[in-house]
């Protein structure tokens, strides 16, 4: 269905380029006066006209199932030829092919950068519209302040508080692990490590950052969770097999590279003059770091931690695989809790009926998650902007 039309368009585009550029060369050889555009621009203009028109025709015609593949191919080819014919017929000494071609290229570049805005708009529209349908069935206050979450129960309950509590609990554990580890690693790498140590440690951290979260989820569920459970039982604690602690620990390790690489950059951006001033007063290296470097880097570090929180809140696979499904309102790290992302994933995997509150509630959760992460990123950005120190 796609191969033939695309082939037809490709052939037309190449033919249009060759025809127009050859024609321009021939005219130029006969013409002794000045020629405005290079032959290749005449060719490129014909080619890009054919390409854009052909692709547009292809995308439009594809919507109608009535046409068969050869028909679509023929139609797209004919339209592409027609679009190329106009610039091709105008090839001549005075035809300004280059500005015309460059105008089209610029339009394509602008259109590409607008895709990012369209994506945001698309995300916004998809979560908001489905959420509005959801809130017609379930009151917004019931959703935001309810303490019972059971979307598949009879009657279903859509109280969001247990999910929020679970998300916060796991995020809190993750940050508790990641903030000291990431920060101390960054300080060590920036201030103490020899270049040998750095050349080993940096790739290691990048490697950890590149491990897919589904792998970390597997590790959390099959290695870390049983380990914590056995260890807890050995000291007489009652540990759930899908404890928040296991998911939080592994998620924390996932975030360490994020915090450490951001903090590393920030610490390196603190000017050497500040350190030298402190050394000149007789301070040791650690005193300099604690009293001079870190305070100067604090806004950047805070914003790095905020970004880490937003990453932890939105992380899905680790919690889907290692955290529980039951929405317990608990702050005990040894209990099983569930998170916003886990619920979105489980509600939307499998059968989906877009008229049931169960499916739609996932979009309401998505809306909350979207705004929550956006707000965190915005605050992180503002902190950096507001407290940015201008050195020199």
């Amino acid at each position: 269905m796609t191969l033939w039309p695309l082939l037809a368009i490709t052939v037309t585009v190449i033919a249009a380029y060759l025809f127009s550029s050859r024609r321009a060369i021939a005219l130029r050889l006969n013409n002794t006066g000045s020629f405005h555009s290079l032959p290749s621009y005449h060719g490129l203009l014909a080619a890009i006209s054919a390409l854009l028109a052909g692709l547009a025709a292809f995308v439009l015609l594809r919507q109608f199932a009535a046409f068969s593949a050869p028909e679509v191919a023929a139609a797209a080819g004919v339209i592409a030829i027609a679009a190329a014919a106009l610039p091709a017929s105008k090839v001549g000494a005075t035809f300004r092919a280059r500005p015309a071609f460059e105008a089209i290229v610029l339009a394509v570049l602008i259109a590409s950068s607008v895709v990012a805005i369209l994506t945001t708009a698309g995300i916004f529209a998809s979560v908001v519209f489905e959420s509005l349908v959801f809130f017609r069935e379930v009151g917004i206050f019931e959703f935001l302040f309810g303490t019972h979450w059971a979307p598949t129960g009879t009657p279903p309950a859509f109280g969001f508080i247990p999910l929020l509590a679970g998300t916060f609990l796991i995020t809190f554990i993750a940050i508790l692990v990641a903030a000291p580890l990431g920060l101390f690693s960054a300080v060590y790498m920036a201030e103490y490590a020899t270049s040998n140590v750095r050349s080993v440690a940096k790739p290691l951290l990048e490697m950890l950052a590149g491990i897919p979260t589904v792998v970390l989820g597997f590790f959390a569920a099959l290695t870390v969770a049983p380990f914590i459970r056995n260890w807890g039982e050995a000291v007489g604690l009652n540990v759930a097999s899908e404890s928040a602690l296991a998911a939080g620990l592994v998620m924390g390790m996932m975030i360490v590279p994020l915090i450490s690489s951001l903090s590393d950059d920030i610490i390196n951006a603190v000017p050497q003059a500040l350190r030298d001033g402190s050394y000149a007063m007789g301070a040791t290296k650690s005193e300099t770091i604690k009293r001079v470097v870190l305070p100067a880097a604090l806004p950047g570090i805070v914003s790095a931690v905020m970004l880490a929180v937003s990453r932890a809140v939105g992380e899905t696979m680790i919690v889907v695989m290692a955290a529980g499904l039951a929405a317990n309102l608990s702050f005990n790290p040894l209990d099983a809790v569930t998170t916003i992302t886990v619920q979105i994933a489980t509600l939307l995997v499998g059968d989906q009926e877009f008229d049931s509150a169960k499916t739609l509630s996932a979009f309401a959760l998505g809306l909350v998650l979207f705004f929550f992460t956006l707000a965190l990123n915005y605050i992180a950005l503002r902190i950096v902007q507001k407290y940015k120190q201008q050195y020199d």
């Binding site: 460059e102 805005i117 995300i123």
Partner: protein, 406 residues
């Protein structure tokens, strides 16, 4: 302050210095240990899935059971099962026979079938057939079995020659409900198709957007809006992109569920900010003097950018693109939303076939109760991580090779 008091203070301060330094080293060591333990743990769990056990079974190929003219039509599994039971004539009760059969894989007769089709002259003879054992037996011979009753397996070991082979099935088979038959081919092909779509869309779009923003855009409100947008998009959780794919691509545009086309579209949007940010950094690293020189000899703005700046920035852009591709390869959550989680035994043939991808396959297998799937999951992780490390290695190599100080 007396000398001794000063000395004491100094000792304390130096101790604090050493402690602080140690905290940093400990943090780094802990992180490295975690990473290494993770990798070792995966390899330890995954290596058994790369081998499988076969039994060398004496089978009489009775001419009455196999049609010489059409040897492919015969029921080889029945022939193998008969031969299998004949090896243990004393086990004749229903439960015993059931247990015996459970030691053979469903595909146990495939090798024999191929052997006979290739060489029909074997019909009527007795041959040593290479039969695949089931997951239960396989785990026992790997020393991983949790069965309590292993008398039959011990007897099997004494009576029939058991051989070990590299399990190419892991890479050449599609998914299966039977652990010993399940393979990654469908998932790998699905991943390649999906990432191909993501790259075919995301790369040109990302580079074009980066060129516009870095070289052509005027510094105004509109440009600021686009820039803030891209930075925000980079921080949106991946699962939200799945919601976008579900609500827009599937429900609104009616695209097929579970298809690499839709998965690729979603991943393209997901990696777009990464590619734009990396490409912009690469373009910014090209000194403005290059562009100015081109403009100075009469090139148009676009000629200066496309003929001079872009080629110099290309290695950096390529590095960013490969890193974006690595991210797309490892992404799971948004693909769950658009239905790429179904059990699919067939290898996808086109961009609109139902497919799954490697990370989702890992997720699916990790959920299965059979013990055999645990090592399969870890093996699939090894395959995925190998691909990712290769991609990252290429990116690092490119960066090193084309790194240029101006």
């Amino acid at each position: 302050m007396t000398d001794t008091a000063y000395q004491k203070l100094l000792i304390k301060r130096y101790a604090a210095e050493r402690r602080f330094r140690a905290y940093g080293a400990i943090a780094l060591i802990l992180t490295s240990v975690f990473l290494l333990y993770l990798l070792v743990d995966i390899v330890r769990k995954g290596w058994p899935a790369f081998v499988e056990h076969h039994a060398a079974l004496e089978v009489t190929l009775d001419a009455s059971q196999i049609d010489k003219a059409n040897p492919a039509a015969a029921d080889y599994l029945a022939i193998v099962k008969d031969a299998w039971r004949n090896q243990f004539p004393d086990l004749s009760s229903r439960t015993d026979r059931k247990q015996l059969n459970s030691l053979l894989s469903q595909d146990a007769a495939e090798n024999l079938r191929q052997q006979v089709i290739d060489n029909p002259g074997l019909i009527g003879q007795t041959v040593k057939a290479d039969v695949l054992l089931s997951d239960d037996a396989d785990l026992y011979f790997k020393g991983l079995s949790q069965e309590s009753d292993t008398t039959l397996l011990e007897r099997l070991k004494k009576q029939i020659e058991i051989t070990r082979h590299i399990s190419w099935r892991l890479l050449t088979n599609g998914d299966s409900r039977e652990p010993e038959l399940a393979g990654l081919r469908g998932a790998i092909v699905g991943s390649l198709l999906t990432v191909a779509v993501a790259l075919a869309l995301g790369l040109p779009l990302g580079i074009a957007a980066a060129i516009y923003l870095e070289q052509f855009a005027l510094r105004n409100r509109w440009t600021d809006v686009i820039e803030v947008n891209i930075n925000n998009l980079a921080a949106v959780p991946s699962i939200i992109f799945g919601l976008l794919g579900l609500a827009m691509f599937l429900n609104l545009f009616g695209m097929p569920r579970s298809a690499p086309l839709v998965g690729g579209l979603v991943l393209a949007l997901l990696v777009l900010p990464t590619i734009i940010i990396a490409s912009r950094a690469a373009l910014r690293a090209v000194p403005p003097s290059i562009k100015e020189a081109a403009l100075g000899v009469g090139a148009s703005h676009q000629q200066a950018v496309f003929h001079h700046v872009l080629p110099l920035a290309l290695p950096g852009i390529l590095t960013g693109a490969i890193l974006g591709m690595a991210r797309a390869f490892g992404e799971t959550a948004p693909l769950l939303m658009i239905g790429m989680v179904a059990f699919i035994a067939d290898v996808p043939q086109s961009f609109t076939d139902a497919a799954t991808v490697l990370p989702v396959q890992i997720y699916l297998w990790s959920d299965l109760p059979e013990l055999g799937f645990q090592s399969k999951t870890a093996a699939a992780i090894m395959v995925l991580i190998t691909i990712l490390f290769l991609l990252n290695g290429i990116a690092i190599y490119l960066r090193k090779k084309f790194e240029r100080r101006w």
